[in-house]
Amino acid sequence: MNGLYQIKIRLRQKDSMFWALLFPLFLGTLFYFMFRNIASAELFQRIPVGLVNTQENEAFGETMKLVEDDDGVNLFKVKKYDTMQDALKALKKKKIRGIIDEKKDCELTVVDSKTDVSIIKTYIDQYKQNEKLIMSVAQKDPQSVGKFVEAIGEKTKSISLKNIELKGQDKDVYAQYFFALLGFVCMVFCSFGSDVASGIQADASSLGARRSVAPTSKLHQILTDFTANYLISCVVSAIVVAFCTLLLKIDFGNNIPLILLAVFIGNFVGMAAGLIIGVYVKGDQKKKSGANVVFFLTSSFLGGLQWGDITYVLEKHCPVINRINPATLIVNSFKSLAVFGNLQKYWINVGSLFLIGILMIGVSVVKLRRAKYVGL
């Protein structure tokens, strides 16, 4: 009966329910529209390049225009400029990514050294190397030049590369942000756990004071309150998972039961962390709430919500964080399923999460059960 009341109480807190649902749906939609374009922007956008002093080597510019990527799309968008000043103006306005001065042995003028600039540099290097190579072959054996030029320019006449595929489905590097978003959703439920703790402690809320004199055992109170809130958190996160998988078509590994299991265990750990905060942080609700914010934002940050590569940096310098941070474990369990198709890794991550949750609950229950109040 108590559990039913808890569910009613939670559902009537419209503010917390609204934000718990709104945030992941909002950020999920934002990610969807942002990252949908990024993959194509990185891979298929033509790189604008400026050429100056083109009369020095006309063949260079013409060849550059013809360069294609693996999908037959032109790699460069070449524009000729009469003077270096004009080209510099265009570079400053980001209309081009680099200027090639043919008079100075194809010197490249750039603003930074991002991947597209590396591609321009690699192309010029290759052009110059091939030119030198053809010249030297022509000097040695003029008759074989034709065959050599054909061989050097044709991928099909070279060694073929056979890619060994990993077992997972989702190879989109930006799927990581959706994994981190679900990890974040789980951690946000720490506020539910914190509320459970406050509702049981006599010195934290008037409801807690009232319930502390009730004959019901503390353990029973904790279990029913926790379970009731946990059920609601599972429903909310299931809606978020459904939104991401069915509407946004994000691939979390095409195994709905395992995805939901990871999310539900994540909710359990999020709430368990909130329980610890509610029990050990003394003071009013604002202080506890502040501690919750610090917990879920830090955990999500370390799990890669704001910057996806942080887990790799941590793995190099402090790998233990990746093994114990709940948000990272949730992200990695999705990654195991979706990217690597590795069930063993999935179970290790989910198992670690569950153990961390049990440990947190144990620590909280011990403190709550021993609580005695001389006066309030």
Binding site: D70, L88, K132, L297
Partner: protein, 388 residues
């Protein structure tokens, strides 16, 4: 004045949690600026070195030539073929790309048996750098194959290619680019909006929630002090606390800039840009405190506002990756203009009338957003009072 004092009484009551907020968001911003600093400077063109695994089952010339050709550009690791271990390393990005050279590969290549000559590769899923390395590898193979077809052995072809590598393109920075473009100051300034927005919403929101508690509000409403004076007191408290956070962030910026920071021409512009963002953040904090009903609402607000504005503005993901639609939507958030200014300041070597014009326009837009949010807050606050 009494409201100003009350504001800081509340700050004192929550000083621990406020300090934790500032500390946590400051650490996050510093970590992101330190680690994300990819020295993408034109001063020294640096191509990213990748972790390449080599499984050499051939133990012959191709492997040696491959090693000599790529050893300076990338980190090469000799591996045995253990797929699970390779997946494990790729999982943690300890490996970006793996190449498997099969037994007898060099022999087949020298005999021109290309149909049965194949190299297996394993790519890190979705990594752009891995794809870039694959195109480097393809070009390497094309040259090597062409040379062996002219009668050279793989070893001899390797020597020729080693010699060819001297043909390198000279990369120079554009004259308008600041030589210190990639120092950590610009990177830290990039993440400052996340710090300002999160701290302002949480701290000012928390204080306003306390002031707006029913019992306190009812008591204050029946006092003789006019509403305008009360609002001014709280506003002053908000600005003073905001300036304290700004000074802390500016101090960190100076520390990251090192000794050069004092003479850096860009410093005043960073300062003005950050101040504009501070005023917007304070307005947003003011709004949060007036529209949310409790800490749960405030937490939700900070997530949507902090993360939403930072992602949409191009703070966590570079603006150049935005598609047309997102780019058009992003123009309606102040963080977008902040990042535009920050990029402009970072690469500036000297000021120009065009720079002043763009900088003033972007800063003005941020301030307009701040004024608009503040005006909306006042309207909401008045409407609430009237309804009551």
């Amino acid at each position: 004045m009494s409201d100003f004092k009350i504001f800081f009484k509340i700050v004192r009551a929550y000083k621990k949690i406020i300090l934790i907020y500032v500390g946590v968001f400051m650490i996050m911003s510093v970590v992101m600026s330190m680690v994300n600093n990819d020295s993408s400077s034109a001063k020294s063109f640096a191509q990213k070195k990748l972790e390449i695994g080599v499984v050499d089952q051939d133990h012959s010339d191709y492997g040696k030539v491959f090693h000599n050709y790529f050893k300076k550009e990338h980190h090469l690791k000799q591996l045995s073929y253990d797929k699970e271990q390779i997946e494990e390393d790729m999982y943690w990005h300890a490996l970006d790309y793996v190449i498997v050279i099969p037994k007898g590969f060099t022999d087949k290549m020298e005999k021109g048996d290309l149909k049965n000559t194949q190299i297996s590769t394993i790519k890190n899923p979705g990594s752009v750098e891995s794809q870039f390395f694959e195109s480097e590898l393809t070009m390497f193979n094309q040259k090597l194959t062409a040379l062996t077809q002219t009668g050279e052995t793989v070893g001899q072809a390797g020597n020729i290619m080693e010699d060819l590598k001297k043909e390198k393109t000279n990369v120079v920075p554009a004259t308008f680019v600041n030589a210190d473009r990639a120092n950590k100051m610009g990177d830290f300034a990039q993440y400052v909006p996340y710090l300002f927005i999160s701290v302002a919403v949480l701290v000012i929101g928390m204080i306003l929630l306390t002031i707006n508690q029913k019992e306190i509000k009812d008591r204050v409403e029946c006092s003789s002090e006019p509403m305008k004076k009360r609002t001014m007191g709280i506003l002053l408290g908000t600005v003073v606390s905001g300036v304290v956070v700004f000074l802390a962030a500016f101090l960190v910026l100076m520390i990251l800039g090192g000794t050069k920071a004092f003479s850096d021409i860009r410093m005043p512009f960073y300062m003005v840009n950050m101040l504009c963002m501070l005023f917007f953040s304070l307005s947003l904090g003011f709004l949060a405190g007036n529209v949310t009903k409790g800490m749960d609402g405030l937490n939700g607000f900070v997530n949507v506002a902090g993360l939403g504005l930072c992602f949409l503005g191009g703070i966590f993901v570079p603006q150049e990756f935005f598609g047309k639609t997102i780019s058009n939507v992003a123009r309606f958030v102040p963080t977008y203009w902040y990042v535009k200014n920050n990029d402009m300041i970072g690469s500036m070597a000297k000021t120009s009338p065009a720079f002043y014009k763009d900088f003033a326009m972007n800063s003005g837009l941020i301030l307009l957003f701040a004024i608009a949010v503040f005006a909306v807050t006042l309207v909401i606050s008045q409407a609430k009072r009237r309804t009551k």
